[in-house]
Symmetry: C2
């Protein structure tokens, strides 16, 4: 089927992806392979954290390193050809070391922190780093304002990285909040990326954690309105389920869905997105869920959603873009 | 002469060393071997610089790494077991890389910068780092206020590190200034370290660059008064010449002395120190200069001042302490 390998998105079509970390980055790579610099990735900033006085943006950097071709495939996170000398020395200096920062990765945080301290806007600082690494797409922080994801567990409220890295996602999550999100303004760049969209473009929701990766993005009032306005102009919204066969491919999304009273399935995710998404992409393994998801008013596309290698990323991105504009 | 190997400084004697970088660090190591935690090193801060948003204190760190036994002997600067991954990546991110910062060294700058940004006083931050690395002696920045050494060359005024590292000390220095020194207050810790001194203690001036290492220290009003007050109480001041056989052992001190109208010799250095020093230690190679230096009103001690290894550092420190309290 050579025809199927050709995405139907118009050559002039623009794509805006809403993304968290690893899953968002993999699909972003496929989308970048399909549409190049017509891709804008709006990334969750709720996971951002300050460590050792440095501004760390895990989701932004995962997407950036992946789109720059610098991601470490074996480790599954961070940057390739990494060393850990500074971390070792930070430990000797009495610093906590559970949040591992490689030497190459540190360069990103150092440059970012210096530019922010000098008054740089987060969006401008992000673009500087992306350009320096030769990323074709545009990666935009969802806001320049501080938003911090926190989860309530039996140990009380934990900031996201303490839960995610420090406690290795072991505590059960009873509640999630995005501190600062009500006051956070959308950026001109994020608004503009949506304002350009019409019927031959697409908004793609990555197979990221629906609660703590996509959640903060759509909790942002300005971003929600921008999506709504784009839909009114006919721009399609297509989401990919990050839950396959009832399990999260990576991370705690499945357990989090359950402990928060949702269903850990593609259907559970579809219910969370039903109001603002047109098309839902599920894995072939979940094909039997299609009728229930269609009953929510969503169009369903069934395909192989597991992105094992570069080819699979590009193929899924093509499927997603064809699903968006049928 | 087993007797000669025993310094005459009293067991209760305290030693305050005024020091710049490498020469000061080597003698500090010898002094620490002689008197342990009774050593306080007051370091020049005029070379301090901000790079990539990080607070870099070259003289403090050289002394700290040396006293912690972490200094890289082969390279002659920085810390042992160093790697350069972050620097490589900083270059890829478009940063200037002529000021080389190793990954292990970066940990020091990261912790320091974070603590300063959190409102830490430079002296407290310095002590935290020294304690973390197990340094027996106390290393004090000469002031908590910013003082910046600048040199006027044919290329105009350059900040010290641009001249020293960036231009590799090639431009001729016509003038030197210590920006901020007139407003810089002495710290309580520096004052206290001198206030404790009496006739059985010693103030030691390291064989550092007399213009840009010792110069900023004695340009600091509070420090000059503290030395004067200690001398009035009978505390001896002994200086070691950093010029041997007319040449600086390291760095541009010899050329700098000449271009600023001084003599590049132990005598030239002695003339700069004559007003506030009691005893001057010169190398055996310069023994013929002793009468001229004595004519300045200084006592002269002649010994081998070249610190080739640990034993030589300890031996010279012993000689210096014996010279201080004859």
């Amino acid at each position: 089927m050579p025809e199927a390998a050709q995405p139907k998105v118009a050559p002039s079509g623009r794509v805006v992806e809403l993304a968290g970390g690893v899953g968002g980055a993999k699909l972003a790579q496929g989308l970048q392979a399909q549409v190049g610099d017509r891709l804008t990735v709006v990334v969750n900033t709720g996971d951002d954290v300050e460590r050792h006085g440095l501004a760390i943006w895990p989701d932004h950097d995962t997407v950036m390193y992946t789109l720059a071709g610098l991601d470490d495939r074996e480790r599954g996170w961070g940057i390739r050809d990494e060393t850990w000398t500074a971390m070792d020395q930070l430990g000797r200096l009495g610093e906590e070391t559970w949040f591992r920062l490689g030497d190459r990765d540190l360069a990103t945080h150092i440059v970012r922190t210096a530019r922010l301290a000098a008054g740089g806007r987060p969006t401008d600082v992000a673009r500087h780093l992306q350009r320096a690494l030769g990323v074709a797409a545009t990666i935009l922080p969802m806001t320049d304002a501080p938003v911090r994801t926190e989860v309530r567990t039996d140990e009380g409220w934990l900031d996201f990285q303490t839960y995610f890295v420090g406690r290795q996602q072991q505590p059960t999550v009873h509640e999630v909040r995005f501190r600062g999100v009500d006051e956070a303004a959308q950026t001109a760049e994020v608004v503009a990326s949506f304002d350009r969209l019409g019927p031959t473009d697409a908004i793609v929701v990555a197979p990221s954690n629906p609660i703590v990766s996509i959640g903060p993005l759509v909790a942002l009032r300005g971003l929600r309105s921008a999506i709504a306005a784009a839909r009114e102009r006919g721009a399609p919204v297509v989401a990919v389920s990050g839950i396959v066969g009832g399990r999260a491919l990576k991370g705690p999304a499945d357990r989090m869905l359950v402990s928060l009273g949702h269903e850990s399935s593609a259907l559970g995710v579809a219910r969370l997105y039903a109001e603002w998404v047109d098309t839902f992409v599920i894995d072939t393994i979940d094909a039997d869920l299609a009728p229930a998801i269609q009953a929510l008013g969503l169009r369903v596309v069934v395909t192989d959603t597991i992105m094992t290698d570069d080819a699979a990323r590009t193929r899924l991105a093509g499927d997603v873009l064809r699903a968006a504009i049928p």
